[in-house]
């Protein structure tokens, strides 16, 4: 198959053509952001003193943490009410930021269903959508939200195509869209080819570049949340590869955000190697990017009771803090049931803030186990990166597409039809995620052996052969309540 996409910066001509023909016409509210220079001016004004990139920079330099709760309601009033409540009932303002998410209809560009959800929510007097439909509400409403908060806003915009959402968010002074492609197809897509997904995301990244070049530093999230059940190496590869794609479009700050598997050593190794290799590969290609890291709480099934959820909130936050990750993203005790309430989100902020008080600057001490884990992840990711660059003749975008097509870029579970799914992962005796089956991944032999040995420890500890049922049990281990 011929790959047409290239990892190449969109020219202004290309960018504005796409903008006019594809992006702004998606929905009527596209009109509100037509004048880009004006949008940038307003964004500069509105994000004064609460710019996400600059707040991350400040926290990183001080060695402290930015707490990042998540919120999003069907109506603007509900959303503002939630932000104000949490900020009034916790210490978020001192060092925090918001991740606002849209509803899933918006993420699928189904603005009609989103509109129906808005009407329905008004009728029922409850938020019937699982997020704030940014595109339906448009830029003026987004600016209202920006004015209502004391901290920077990030926007979790999209499944396949977050371009219009990002246009609206950035124009409202929110300082973060998303840069992602493989992450997105694995996490939320079904049919879109990777090539097309990369093309859509080049636009969003370029938009961030343009804002930054015009005096509004934008720090997009470069996440690997993926399916919630992926190996540390795959997660890391996704971030590093996508950091190059974003950097090419002129993105100068990136928030490397990794979904935690909840093994302290492996999660820390994963986050640190991701930062190291993103830096290294970007330098190699001549990109000048400043990276920040953040840990995202476990993305699998959560337990349906407050105390068990609080244990997860605390353990996830502690892993991020011990890692030294600047961002500590927060879920809350509603996770198993519904979209977060403001009350529960405020509780999560309080828990995490007090953990920071208690832990101070405590970090995981340098140790052999961590160095080994880092070395293993690094070897796996380097093998994947080099194979991509080779397959793509030095072009990362091409290489990623070829890797997925051939199946040597692969993960276990995803709704996305182009993923081969020939790998299987399982937890080892200490809960770290290991390959039970490496499929066609170009795993260096020593890494393969390492994973095998770690799983053998579990088999020995449990006194049983490893089998597929254990994979299934692993998927639900964190949601089960001890009886």
């Amino acid at each position: 198959m011929a790959i047409k996409i290239k990892n190449k910066r969109l020219t202004d001509e290309e960018f504005f053509k796409i903008r006019k023909e594809e992006v702004l016409p998606m929905w009527t509210t596209g009109k509100g952001v037509e004048n880009l220079s004006e949008c940038i001016e307003i964004a500069k004004e509105l994000s004064q003193g609460k710019n996400f990139a600059l707040k991350l920079k400040e926290a990183k330099e001080k060695g402290t943490h930015l707490l990042i709760p998540q919120f999003g309601r069907a109506l603007t009033e509900y959303t503002i009410e939630g932000l104000e409540y949490v900020e009034a009932n916790s210490d978020l303002a001192s060092s925090g930021a918001w991740l606002i998410y849209s509803d899933s209809y918006t993420r699928k560009l189904d603005f009609k269903s989103a509109q129906a959800g808005i009407e329905r929510s008004k009728k029922e007097g409850m938020s019937m959508l699982n997020g704030w439909p940014i595109v339906n509400f448009g830029v003026e409403e987004a600016r209202r939200i920006m004015k209502a908060t004391k901290v920077p806003l990030s926007f979790n915009s999209t499944d396949e195509d977050g371009r219009l959402a990002a246009e609206i968010a950035l124009a409202a002074g929110w300082n973060s869209c998303f840069v992602r492609s493989l992450q997105e197809v694995i996490a939320h897509c079904k049919n879109i080819p990777l090539e097309e997904e990369i093309r859509l995301n080049q636009y969003e990244a370029r938009l961030a570049g343009i804002y930054t070049e015009n005096g509004v530093p934008i720090c997009p999230w470069n996440p690997s949340n993926l399916s919630g059940y992926d190996s540390a190496g795959y997660r890391c590869f996704v971030n590093v590869s996508e950091s190059l794609l974003a950097a090419e479009q002129g993105v100068k700050y990136q928030f490397l955000e990794l979904g935690q598997n909840m093994n302290l050593i492996q999660d820390i190794a994963m986050i640190r190697v991701t930062e190291k290799l993103s830096n290294e590969y970007c330098k190699r290609f001549g990109y000048n990017v400043e990276f920040f890291t953040g840990g995202f709480p476990f993305l699998g099934a959560w337990p349906p009771r407050a105390e068990e959820a609080n244990a997860m909130i605390a353990w996830n936050a502690i892993i991020s803090i011990m890692c030294g990750a600047t961002g500590v993203i927060l879920k809350c005790q509603d996770e198993a049931f519904a979209t977060p309430t403001k009350e529960s989100m405020a509780m999560s902020v309080r828990i995490a803030r007090h953990l920071i008080t208690l832990m101070g600057t405590q970090k995981i001490p340098d140790n052999e186990a961590l160095r080994l884990e880092e070395a293993m992840i690094e070897a796996e990711v380097r093998a994947l990166m080099e194979k991509c660059l080779e397959a793509g003749d030095g072009d990362m975008a091409v290489g990623m597409c070829r890797g997925v097509e051939a199946g040597w870029v692969d993960t276990m579970l995803t709704p996305w039809k182009y993923n081969k799914g020939n790998v299987t992962v399982m937890r080892d005796a200490e809960g770290a995620v290991r390959y039970f089956n490496t499929g066609d991944i170009p795993m260096p032999p020593e890494v393969k052996e390492y994973h095998k040995a770690k799983l053998a420890e579990r088999a020995k500890k449990e006194g049983r052969e490893l089998n597929f049922d254990m994979v299934v049990q692993d998927l639900q281990f964190a949601s089960r309540i001890a009886k």
């Binding site: 899933s104 209809y105 699982n130 897509c189 399916s227 699998g300 099934a301 979209t339 995803t414």
Partner: protein, 144 residues
Amino acid sequence: MEKRKVNKSVVIGTIGADAHMIGGWVLQKTFKDAGFTVAFLGAVVPQQEFINAAIEINADAILVSSMYGMGLLDCEGFRGKCIEAGLKDIILYVGGTVAAPLELDKNWPEIERRFREMGFNRVFRVSTTAAEVAKTLKEDLGIA
């Protein structure tokens, strides 16, 4: 009217714009292990696709997973489409995080009422295990 013969077959998928597939994935594994024929449609599945698959495998039941809080919206009109397609009596289950507002989730009888009104036979909480769902379906099919 004669009663349809039980075929031990089910359609499983996650409805609407919802990409969460793990719940459905665990479910399909459990039902296969229990000897069912399973059409597993993955995630982001439209209503019509569930129904087409049900016709194709002559399913006893459609098991709808919804994890992102908008199941109540996504399931509207599902029974009507089944009836149109000649699946008047097919068993419809739905389960997961089916409503975005916590106040609604905490008022579970209201959730049940709404889904019953929409023609669903049962609605399961997110904490229900796949094994429990399989057991219930067998009972409903009279093959427990």
